[in-house]
Each structure stands twice: as structure tokens, then as C-alpha cells.
Amino acid sequence: MDDNQLPEKIAAARRDAEGLKDRIKQRKEALADATLQEMARDVEPLPRIVMKARRTLKGHLAKIYSMHWSTDKRHVVSASQDGKLIVWDAYSSNKVHAIPLRSSWVMTCAYSPSGNLVACGGLDNICSIYSLRSREGPARPARELSAHTGYLSCCRFINDRQILTSSGDKSCMLWDLDAGVKIEEFSDHANDVMSISLGPNPNVFVSGACDSTAKVWDIRSKRCVQTFVGHESDVNAVQFFPNGDAFATGSDDASCRLFDLRADCELASFSHESILCGITSIDFSVSGRLLFGGYDDYNCNVWDTLKGERVGILQAHENRVSCLGVAGDGMALCTGSWDATLRVWA
């Protein structure tokens, strides 16, 4: 290539980029014909949501960093930096399994949809898989998935053969559990990826990262198909709306936001001038009408997704709420905290 023309070509490419970005902005503005709040003005507002802590799950000896419901809506797995994964029966509060971990610096855990497997990982950069139903039981990991060069921030089973992970190494990975190897790598974030969510469409997942963005990925094409900006700080949590058309995010900027995949824009922001701390975890109620956020100020705030208003506060923990999840039948919310307990609310 004639090196005399390079500076001109680079300048032209830059101009093209600005032009394309403007056209994208115009297309999106043309579609912003209303707001979610306006469209929901005829929806009956909700009364104050009152939920009580019906169960307190005690047993961990140190901060709890993660929890995940089983699809049986009854069992919960939790991970604590006391170096244990505990599987609980939320109905009775009994512990069903207490799995000692090789590394106590655990940051995430997950239950497989079948209920056969649980996974965890953290500062060891490894995703460890334990079998709950094999003859040997969960005494030792069935698989140790090693390829990330940074901490494991989140993991989610697609099924008993595949798991998705996110990492402080800025990437997400898809793994084959039978072979114990990485199948795919998803790299586009500019900073640590903190959270992933799988929706009803098995081919799509969303990730949130410390680069303040959330990205939607297509597993088959292995590409980032959409990027959502708006947050002003790390996105710590992402969760799909139940129908998979939208997702919520929780951030260190003290706001939760709702983004829509088909409209390709932010639909709502959930914040209050009195809330100044970050959100660690989020989940929707089964219809999507309620959005629960776990906050650094020890509380869980309940938001009306359609109206953008706070409709409840759940207070019981004595330290940061680090994780939460709504059971599959929508009957209960489980919160986990640095105070070493989990609470089940209904």
C-alpha cells in the first residue's frame, strides 16, 4: 500500500465512523415514540409490597457471595468464602449437601437445570463442577474447567453438557462438560465481565461488565450482536426479563436499568436520590412486574418495572446483600448476604 495515502484513508475511515454513528443515533431516535412509563399510565399502580422473611438459612461461617435456585423451586445452592457450597432445602431450612471447596475464594455458584450438577468458581480462575447424584457424590469435583486468565465472576449451566462462564479476564466462555474443555470464547468487553444471564432463547445470553456496558451475544455466530450503554459505572448484575425481550442491569452507579433488545435502547431507570450505594444483584418476579435489587446498604429494594417506582424495601440483613434470586414458580425470593445468612421471603 502506498504509504502516502494512509493518513488520508485513516481520516476518511474516521469520518465514515462518525457518519455511521450519527445515522444509528437518528434511527433510534425515530423509534423513540413513547416511554415505558407513558405506555403504562393506565396500569393500576401497585400497593406497597410487603414480604416477610419466612426462613433464615444459617450455617455458613463467612460472607456469602452467590446463590442460585434449583429449577425444582425448592432447593438452593449457596457459596461462601468459608470455602463451602451448601445445598439447602428452602422449605425445611435443612442442609442437603455441604461441599468443601479446594479454593475458598469463591465468587459464584450455579445449579444445573436438571438438578444433577452444581458449579462454582472464583479467584482460582477455575469453574469446578460437582455431581450431586452420582454414586461418589460431590466430595470431589467431577470437572475443573481451566482456561480463564482472570477470576470467575459468574457461571450458568445451559444443560448438563454445557456451561457458560464470565471472568475478570474480560471474556466469557462456553464449555463442553463431557470433555471438560472450552468450546467458544466471547471477547468484546473492555473490562472485567461481572455477570451473565441466559434467557428463554437458548442461543442468546447477556453480559454486564466493569466497562459500564451490557452486551448481547449470539452463541451460534459467536458474536456480540448488541451493546447497551447508559450506566456510569461497573455493571455488576444482569438478568433477562421473563419473556427474553428485555433485560435489567444493576450497577455501582446506584441505578438499575431496563434495556429492550428489539427497540435497542434503554426503557427505564430505577433510582432514587436517597439511594447512593451500588447494586450487587437483581432478579424479576415471575411476571416481570417486580424487579428486586440487592444493595450495598444491606437492603433489598423492590421496584415496579412498568412504573419505575420503588414499591417495597426488604430489611433483615446485617451486611451487604451480595446475591438474590426468585424461585422458578415465583413463590419466593432468596437473598444472600455478607452477614453469612440467606433469607427466603414470601
Binding site: 494512509l6 465514515d16 423509534l31 393500576e44 426479563f241 418476579s285 417486580l290 413463590m331
Partner: protein
């Protein structure tokens, strides 16, 4: 030598910009719906899905259907 290195860096920069513009072109053309249509879908889903946590819309949960209902105090132990 320096001139060659500078040219290599500039070519790499140009290639990165051209790839970026290709992604922008793809983003320009993704199908998008209006905010009103997207909102309607979310509102409809909320309206059409029974939610035990929203009793003002769906009614209270029957005690017999609620696995977390406070028990009638029949004892603190259960046979495993």
C-alpha cells in the same frame, strides 16, 4: 527501518478502523421496533402472567399452595 515500522502501524490502524466501520454498518441495519411496541409487549407479559408476589392483581395465595406459609405450630421436628 523507522519508516517501515510507522507504515505497518498505520496499516494496522486503518484495518482496525475499517473493521469497526463494518460492525457499525451491521449495527445500523439490525431490525428495530418502536419503544411503544416494545413497551406493549412487556406490559402484556406482566398482565398475562400469574404472579404470586403481586396479590393486588392476582389475589392472595391459598395457604395450602404456599410452601412457605407459617405453619400452625404443630411441632418443631420432622421425621427425615
Amino acid at each position: 527501518m523507522n519508516a517501515r515500522r510507522t507504515q505497518n502501524l498505520s496499516e494496522a490502524k486503518l484495518n482496525r478502523l475499517l473493521e469497526y466501520n463494518q460492525r457499525l454498518r451491521e449495527l445500523l441495519d439490525i431490525p428495530r421496533t418502536t419503544v411503544s411496541e416494545a413497551s406493549t409487549r412487556l406490559i402484556d407479559h406482566c398482565k398475562n402472567t400469574r404472579d404470586p408476589m403481586v396479590p393486588s392483581v392476582w389475589g392472595p395465595i391459598d395457604k395450602k399452595d404456599d410452601p412457605f406459609a407459617p405453619t400452625s405450630g404443630s411441632g418443631c421436628c420432622s421425621v427425615m
